[in-house]
Every structure is written in C-alpha cells, then in structure tokens.
C-alpha cells in the first residue's frame, strides 16, 4: 500500500513537473502580453502581472497588417490540411488495398522524399514557381506544404488502414458496396483518429512554416503569420509587448483546433505506435 502511494505520488510529481515545463512558457507569453512595457522587460520577471493593458493588442490589430497575416495563414493551413488529408487518404488506401505493381517500392520512395532536406529545394523551387507565375501567391505555399506533409501522412495512414480487418471490407463488398463506398463508409470512420492526426499535423506544419514562406512571398498583403510577425517585431529595436501579443494570437487557432480534435490526435498517435 505504501509503495503504491509512493509510486502514485512520484507519478503525480512527474506529471506536475511536465505540466509546468509545457504550460509555463505559454502562461508567461500570454500573461506578459497584457503587461505594461516597463513590466514586460523588468529586471525581475513577474510571475503574476502587476499591471494590465491592451495596448499591445491594439497596436497589433490596428497599426499592423497582422489580421491580414492571420487570414492568409488560415487559408494556407486549411488548404494544406484539406488537400493533404484527401491525397494521403487516397494514396495510403491505394497502397494498402490495391495490388499495385512495385507498391512497396513506391511506399519506400515516398518515405525518402520526406527525408529530403527542404532547404536544398529552396532556390530551385523559387525558379520553378516563378516560371509558373506562382511566386507571391498563397497557392505556392499550399503546394510546398502539401509536398512536405503528404509523405509522412501517407505512411501514418497506411499503418491505420493495415490494422482494419480485411473481413469488414469483404462484408461490405458482399453487400454491394463499391471501393469508394467502402473507403468512405467503412474504412475512414474506423481510421478517424489517424485522419485527425494527419489533419492536425498538416495544419500545424503549414501554420508554422517559415522558410519557404519568407522566400516565396514578396508582398506584405500575402504574408502568413510567421513571416509577418518576424517583420513587425523589427531588427534593431524590439517591441517586446507587440511580439508577445502576436505570439499569443498566433497560438490561438492551434489551441482551438487541438481542443476540438486533440483527443483523436492522441488516440491516433498511441494507436499508430502499437501498429
């Protein structure tokens, strides 16, 4: 009994420590965004705000193009998520169920493309997209993001599809269901945690992507949040309050998405680990 209590206490302490490590930065960023500038950069940081102001948010939303950056990021992340989920679902199902010639080889090639360092593609991609007239267009970011998220998504979904008993699909076929109906009505609901994981993965990757966005987007009107925020912070002089307000607002969509489908994400990750 004593050992059990000791173990539980240790576990609780460990979890508390982990919670602090994970939550503390978010807490500090979010609460500091409401502090007066003097308190933000105070010599001794304050854990609990001693002042309250909305001036950083006012500046962020009224004097900068941040709302435009936010809308652009939302479009890019949603587009990436939608296309990545669609493509990777169809590709993973095809690789898993259809007797494709060299299917295994194809699957490995997909994994290799995921391992390819993106930075090496930066300049060639710029030239290619420029010839296609896609530089400074949000669609170029969607294309790039899908390129980098889809291989991992295919690999992840294939693991989920493999775990679904083939008998279920055979039963559906006996009942007259077509392949597409089987995929949509039988397989996808069972693989929902995997699809949710892929969706969140694609959304977050697109939401935080900086390198390609900083080079492929030229005009302020088309910048996504990471690039736009880096710009309004400044180089020689940093407005720390503005930076914290920007970081807080940037976190919100991801937090909202997680609160809606986070449970599936965790299930997806753990289930994927066992398969």
């Amino acid at each position: 009994m004593t050992t059990r209590i000791r173990h539980r206490s240790l576990l609780a302490l460990g979890l508390l420590g982990l919670l602090l490590v994970v939550v503390a930065p978010f807490y500090y960023v979010a609460t500091s965004s409401f502090k007066l500038p003097q308190e933000v950069i105070a010599q001794v940081p304050t854990l609990f705000p001693q002042s309250f102001t909305l001036q950083h948010y006012e500046k962020l939303l009224r004097s900068s193009n941040f709302p435009t950056y936010l809308a652009n990021s939302m479009l890019v992340a949603s587009g990436t998520m939608g296309i990545c989920v669609t493509l990777s679902t169809l590709a993973a199902y095809g690789l898993y169920r259809m007797q494709l010639p060299a299917g295994k080889f194809l699957f490995r090639i997909i994994l290799v493309t995921y391992a390819f360092p993106g930075v090496l593609l930066l300049i060639p991609l710029y030239g290619l997209l420029s010839q296609l007239g896609l530089v400074d267009r949000l669609v170029s970011l969607v294309i790039v993001n899908v390129t980098f998220t889809a291989p991992f998504a295919v690999w992840m979904l294939r693991a989920f599809f493999t775990a679904i008993p083939g008998e279920l699909e055979e039963a559906a076929a006996l009942d007259g269901a077509t392949r597409a109906q089987t995929l949509i009505r039988i397989v996808l609901p069972l693989a929902a945690p995997g699809v949710a994981s892929v969706a969140i993965f694609a959304f977050i990757l697109a939401w935080t992507e900086y390198m390609f966005a900083s080079v492929l987007i030229l005009s302020d009107a088309n910048r996504p949040v990471p690039v736009g925020l880096a710009g309004i912070i400044g180089q020689y002089q940093v407005d720390w309050g503005l930076l914290l307000a920007g970081a807080t607002v940037t976190m919100l969509p991801v937090l909202i998405l997680f609160s809606l489908v986070g449970r599936y994400f965790v299930e997806g990750l753990t289930a994927g680990a066992m398969k």
Binding site: V76, G82, G127, V142, A180, I184, S219, G231, Y236
Partner: protein, 445 residues
C-alpha cells in the same frame, strides 16, 4: 458506381476549393492617387526595403502617396522585406526576373547583387544630388568601386555608447574617453543587480558590429592591405580583442546570445549601465523612464594608441535594378523627391533617433529636427550625428573598397573570432590568427 465516383469527386472538390481559396488574389497592391497620363499606362516602380515595423512602413507609404499624387505618370509601391531573408531572396528574384526596381542595401550587400549584373551605375545621379544637398563622402565611398557608384546613400546608422547620467553620478564617474577609463568605469558600475556593460558574443551581426567598434578604436579599422590581401592579424586587432575579453567579464551572463533588442532591454531595465548601440531613444522613451535629461550618449572610448574615437557606421543606400529607361527615370524622380529637404527629414524620422542624415542639407533639414522625439532628445541626436562623422565599416575604409568583404561578413567571422576569445578561452593573439585563417578560407571559396 456513379455514386461512388461522385463521392470521391466531392472529397477532392472540398480540398480543391480550399486550394482555390488560396489561389484567389488577395488584397490588391497599395493603391495610389496616381493616374495614367491620357492614353498611356503609368510607369510602375516597386521598392523593396527592410524597414518592416508598421510605423516605418506607414511613414514610407505617406511619402509614396504624396509622390504618386504629384506625379500622375508614375506609380511607386513598396514591399517591405526582412534582412534575415533578403540575401537569399533578392538574388533569387533577380535570377527569376521579378526583382524590384529599387532595393535598399548596406555596403556589403551591394557586391552580392552587383555580381548578378543587374545593379545600375548611379554616379551621375549621385553627383546631381551631391551638387544640390552635399553628400557626406563617407556615405558614398562604400558604394564606389570598379569605376562606378552602385547605390544612392539614403541614411546613416552609427554606434554610440548609451548610459544614464544619474547612474554615472552615483558611481562617481565621468564619461570615459579612453579604454583605461572605460575599464575602471565598468568595474565601478558593476554592482548588486547591475552589470557595467552589455557585450554580445555570438556569431551574429550585432557582435560583428560591437567588436568592430573596438577594432576601430584600436587603430585596426583596416582589414585589408592596399593590395587587397588580408591584414586582420595585426597587433592592433589583437589589442582590440584582448580589451573586449577584459570588458566582457562585466557583462551579464546571458549576453553571449544577444542581438540589438536584448541589449536595449538590458539597458532599459537598468541591468546594464552601458551598452554600445545605434540608438536606444525609442525604447528608452516608451519602455523606460523617458527622461531626456538623464539619458547619456558618448563616443566609444579609444585605446591610448589612438588619437580620437571612431565607431562602426552603416551608410544605407538604394540600388537601381532596372534596365528600362522609363523605369530608371521614374525611380530617380522618386529618389529626388525623397532627398529633398522637407521630405528627407520625414523619411529619416520613420524611426526617430535611429536613422541619421547622409547629406549636409539633410542634417539641417527642419523636418528632421521638428519631430517631437527629435525635439525631446535633441542633444542626444546631435551627439549621434557628431559620432557618425567618424564612422568606419570593415572592408570599406579610407577610400579602399573591397567587395570581397561580403564573404567575410556573410559568415560573421569577426564575431566568430570574438567567440574564440570570450567563450572558448583562446588568447586574443591565437584567436585573431585563427580568424585570419577563416577569412582567407572564406575568400578562397
């Protein structure tokens, strides 16, 4: 079967709809009051600059709007960029054929673009502006080589030492002018909760700049010999790095990772008694006490082997990247407008107290001195302008311009040498010898 295909099509359509949303043109480019002359399209001039903070963008837009309204045949627009990416982005844009007509630059950025063959010679235009407003020679020199002037100087930035007069008075010290006095001062100023000075030590541009401040004040401002060979490894450079090591003991423990913003915050929250920085005025005014009577600014102290103080100074300029005569004429017309007193001061004051004039006329421009922040911190600004007159920049000194410096500054090798001294513990002599080796390697590449 039909339903089945429809289901798939529906699924793909949802995804494509999202993609289409992204492909739709977003907000239109900043409009102007310009209208084309009857029957002809206006000449479009796009500017890329790296002044991204919203208030700077807004000030530039005000000037652009005024210009466009007064010049119906020209439409100028701006696209703010980031210094972090411009070294990759601009060459890529030039190669792909979608470079802007005007691109802001610092001296070691110009050679990179120049190699691509798109930068237009500007000596005639610079001479025209010089006759009208009198450029400071030190602002033009870094852009003059290979028989041409490759950019039009627009504003200057120079380091000074910032301090609080009350903190000095409390410690019983007067502003130091020599290194011996500076060392005594930072030691006296290092007290409970306060460090005598804030110095960076990472492989980054801010460290390059601060270290070069000390090189200039040791008489080691020349990195090259007249014949273009390196002379980084010399007794004056070693003296500068050794002094940096001595001062560094009185800097906060987190200072190795600093860039400009962290240094300013350290000064604003009173953790650092002195910092070398282009300016602290805006931060001091908005995030600290904002007392102009207490804010002190001085020239960077010098070694006893040198007669007077010097500092690092960046003459920021603009390059013309178009070969189209109509666009060239339109771009030059905009630059004439920008350098005209009355407009020029307002342009500089997009960040009051940071950007200094590069013309004699600009230094007397009322629109520069009439800005509320300039009025409040007038004496500090006057000292900054004075300090800037003794500005130097590595690779662009004393009329000798060596474009190959771009390879050295791109890798922050001056800063890396400082790391060898203060982080890795090498002696200044060994570190400088290693620094020269790294520079030779960079140039050979």
């Amino acid at each position: 079967m039909k339903t089945d295909k429809l289901s798939i099509l529906l699924l793909v359509a949802v995804a494509l709809a999202a993609l289409a949303g992204c492909a739709l043109p977003t907000a239109p480019a900043a409009s102007s009051g310009a209208e084309a002359g009857a029957g002809s399209a206006p000449v479009e001039v796009k500017i890329w600059h790296m002044e991204q903070p919203p208030h700077r963008v807004e000030r530039i837009q005000q000037l652009i709007d005024e210009f466009n309204a007064a010049n119906p045949g020209i439409v100028v627009s701006q696209e703010p960029q980031n210094w972090g990416e411009i070294y990759t982005k601009a060459p890529a844009a030039v190669a792909a054929g979608n470079a802007p007509e005007l691109l802001f630059a610092i001296p070691d950025f110009t050679p990179i673009l120049n190699r691509l063959g798109k930068v237009q010679p500007m000596e005639e235009f610079v001479a025209e502006m010089d006759a009208l407003y009198s450029f400071y020679p030190s602002a033009v020199e870094p852009y003059t080589y290979d028989d041409h002037t490759w950019a039009v100087p627009l504003y200057n930035m120079a380091h000074s030492m910032w301090y609080r007069k009350s903190v000095f008075a409390e410690a019983g010290i007067t502003p130091p002018t020599t290194w011996d006095e500076l060392l005594v001062a930072v030691e006296a100023l290092t007290q409970e909760g306060q460090y005598g000075i804030g110095l960076p030590a990472n492989k980054q541009l801010y460290t390059d700049q601060v270290v070069y401040d000390f090189m200039v004040n040791a008489g080691a401002d020349e990195i090259y010999n007249e014949d273009g060979t390196l002379r980084f490894n010399n007794p004056q450079t070693v003296e500068a790095y050794d002094f940096y090591r001595q001062l560094y003991q009185f800097s906060p423990p987190d200072s190795p990772n600093w860039t400009w913003g962290e240094a300013e915050a350290c000064f604003a929250n009173r953790t650092c008694a002195i910092i070398p920085q282009f300016t602290v005025i805006t931060t001091y005014d908005t995030q600290a006490e904002g007392d102009p009577e207490d804010l002190g600014v001085m020239a960077i102290p010098h070694s006893s082997n040198v007669d007077a103080s010097g500092t690092i100074a960046y003459s920021n300029a603009v390059m013309l990247l178009t070969e189209d005569p109509a666009k060239q004429a339109a771009a030059q017309e905009f630059l004439r407008f920008l350098l005209t007193p009355g407009n020029y001061g307002r342009f500089l004051n997009m960040e009051p107290g940071l950007f200094l004039p590069v013309t004699e006329a600009g230094s007397q421009d009322e629109s520069f001195w009439n800005d509320p922040l300039a009025v409040k911190y007038q004496s500090q600004l006057e000292t900054m302008v004075e300090n800037a007159k003794n500005g130097r920049l590595f690779g662009f000194t004393n009329g000798n311009t060596f474009p190959s410096i771009a390879a050295i500054s791109a890798q922050n090798l001056v800063a890396q040498t400082a790391q060898l001294v203060v982080i890795d513990g090498l002696s200044a002599a060994d570190a400088v010898a290693e620094g020269q080796r790294l520079m030779e390697e960079a140039l050979a590449e």
